[in-house]
């Protein structure tokens, strides 16, 4: 496990230029455009989290998987490491984005207002983890090229469903009521979303284990 984590961090370091540019750009946006800081924070969390998927592609580069699995690691260790690495990336990039956002917003306005603003931020982390939970098993099963198409296809279908639901829901009072309730019970809503997120993450892990167990290289 340790060897695999080191490998992924080395790959992360070797792709540092690209991620560093994202980081710098995020800072510049935050400085000049505090109004869109929520978007920047979510984008940063998402991009850094998705790097875990890139390591899957790097492992497969030039048919590298057979050799990787010939090392003293099990398929279960490989999958577990990917989930730990992706979770680490999601949480750390999210924490950094929150910290940056807090610093830049505080420079421009008061701290109290901004802490209230940040209440909504866990949703970015939750969305990143859910996205990874969908993407990892798909990439393990179908590989990089097909996996990307299927993953973005699924994301598109989810957004279309939500969009349609909102359009339909706006004509009724159902959605308004739901949003109002969620706004009034932010804490409970976040806990509920966290439980859903953890469940999706766990199901995804079990699914990935099964895929890897059956896969031939």
């Amino acid at each position: 496990m340790k060897g695999l984590l080191i490998k992924d961090f080395k790959l992360l370091k070797n792709q540092g230029k690209f991620l560093f540019i994202i980081f710098i750009m995020a800072n510049i946006f935050l400085f000049f455009e505090s109004g869109s800081s929520g978007f920047i924070a979510s984008y940063m969390t998402f991009v850094f989290s998705m790097f875990a998927l890139n390591t899957l592609s790097y492992d497969s580069y030039d048919n590298g998987m057979p050799f990787l699995l010939s090392l003293p690691i099990t398929r279960k260790t490989y999958v577990t490491e990917k989930y730990i690495f992706s979770l680490f990336l999601s949480i750390s990039s999210w924490l950094v984005s929150i910290l940056l956002r807090l610093i830049f917003l505080t420079i421009q306005t008061s701290l109290k207002e901004n802490v209230i603003l940040l209440y909504a931020d866990p949703i970015y982390l939750i969305l990143s983890i859910v996205s990874l939970s969908i993407a990892i098993p798909i990439h393990l099963k179908y590989g990089q090229e097909k996996g990307h198409i299927i993953f973005f296809g699924i994301l598109g279908a989810i957004f279309l469903t939500i969009f349609t639901a909102i359009r339909v829901g706006l004509n009724t009072h159902l959605l308004h009521n739901l949003i109002n309730r969620m706004m009034h019970h932010t804490g409970r809503t976040i806990i509920l979303l966290c439980i859903i997120c953890i469940s999706i993450f766990a199901i995804s892990y079990i699914l990935s284990l099964r895929i890897m167990k059956r896969k031939e290289f």
Binding site: G3, K7, N14, Y61, L71, P72, R214
Partner: protein, 282 residues
């Protein structure tokens, strides 16, 4: 050290069915034409494919029950698979140090420098020869007891091949190690291997000690008339030729003594493969 008992794997257009063993202190070769089943056999040994039948024992344990510690005693070099090209050798060192308890970093770095492998260049920028050397150096860097080498010299020039064969000879010096190797270059195997398995269409056609093959096997070149009157006791295969037949025998000396008028040539591994695959059994 390694034993394959009647392993079977069915693909839509290919069926692997073979048994073989690699005893201690031996270099065993698995040879055969492209698509014969060499790589599939290696993949089966390494647990990269699931077997339909049969079992594999490594270090006297079923392969599926090997612990990470056991697997650290196996060195692997695959023909078409390597570390991610986005890593450098320095990254590889950091990665494999915790994986292999007996990894000798100092020796590995020295070997890399001796073979002009840059430590800080991405592997994807390496030449074919450099990649092949890295694979072998990695496989022998952690005091493995068993090496599984699938075409380690493929695509290399004669100098690079010789360097790799030298590494393998040095690796065998302690006396408690074994190697299973496949290669298309028979001259490499003739000077390196103790015994040879010939595989074709997923089945083992022949097993023989290398020195027996080179010393005792021979090719008889005979006309049709000579063939009709020839004692066929020690003939294995025959192949139709323009002049009559070429015949593979496992007792060259018998025919040299009893039929001195016949043209009898030494059998090389290439000729043996050709006779076994293109010829028909007698």
């Amino acid at each position: 050290m390694l034993k394959l008992n009647n392993i079977e794997k069915q693909y839509p257009q290919f069926h692997l069915k073979c048994s073989l063993k690699v005893p201690e202190n031996r270099i065993t070769a698995l040879i055969g034409p492209n698509g014969a089943g060499k790589t599939t056999t290696f993949k089966a040994i390494l647990g990269l494919i699931h077997l339909d039948k049969g079992d594999i024992h490594i270090f006297n344990k079923p392969a599926e029950r090997l612990t990470s510690k056991d697997r650290a005693l196996i060195g692997v070099a695959l023909s078409d698979s390597n570390f991610s090209g986005y890593l450098t050798i320095q990254d590889v060192i950091s990665m494999i140090t915790p994986l292999y308890p007996e990894f000798n970093k100092e020796q590995f770095v020295n070997n890399c420098m001796q073979f002009n492998l840059p430590l800080n260049k991405k592997i994807k920028e390496f030449s074919t020869g450099m990649k092949a050397k890295l694979k072998i150096l990695t496989a022998v860097s952690h005091n493995a007891r068993l090496l599984i080498l699938d075409k380690p010299t493929a695509g290399l020039d004669v100098l690079a091949r010789q360097e790799i064969l030298d590494i393998l000879r040095e690796y065998m010096l302690p006396g408690d190690r074994s190697v299973l190797i496949s290669s298309h270059i028979s001259s490499d195997l003739e000077e390196l291997c103790d015994d040879i398995y010939l595989i074709h269409q997923g089945q083992i056609l022949l097993y023989e000690e290398t020195h027996t093959l080179l010393d005792c096997y021979g090719i008889l070149k005979v006309t049709e008339e000579q063939y009709k009157t020839l004692d066929q006791t020690y003939l294995i295969q025959k192949k139709k030729e323009s002049y009559g037949y070429s015949l593979l025998t496992s007792q060259k000396q018998y025919y040299q003594e009893n039929a001195p008028e016949l043209s009898i040539e030494k059998c090389t591994i290439d000729e043996m493969i050709l006779m076994m695959i293109k010829g028909e059994s007698i």
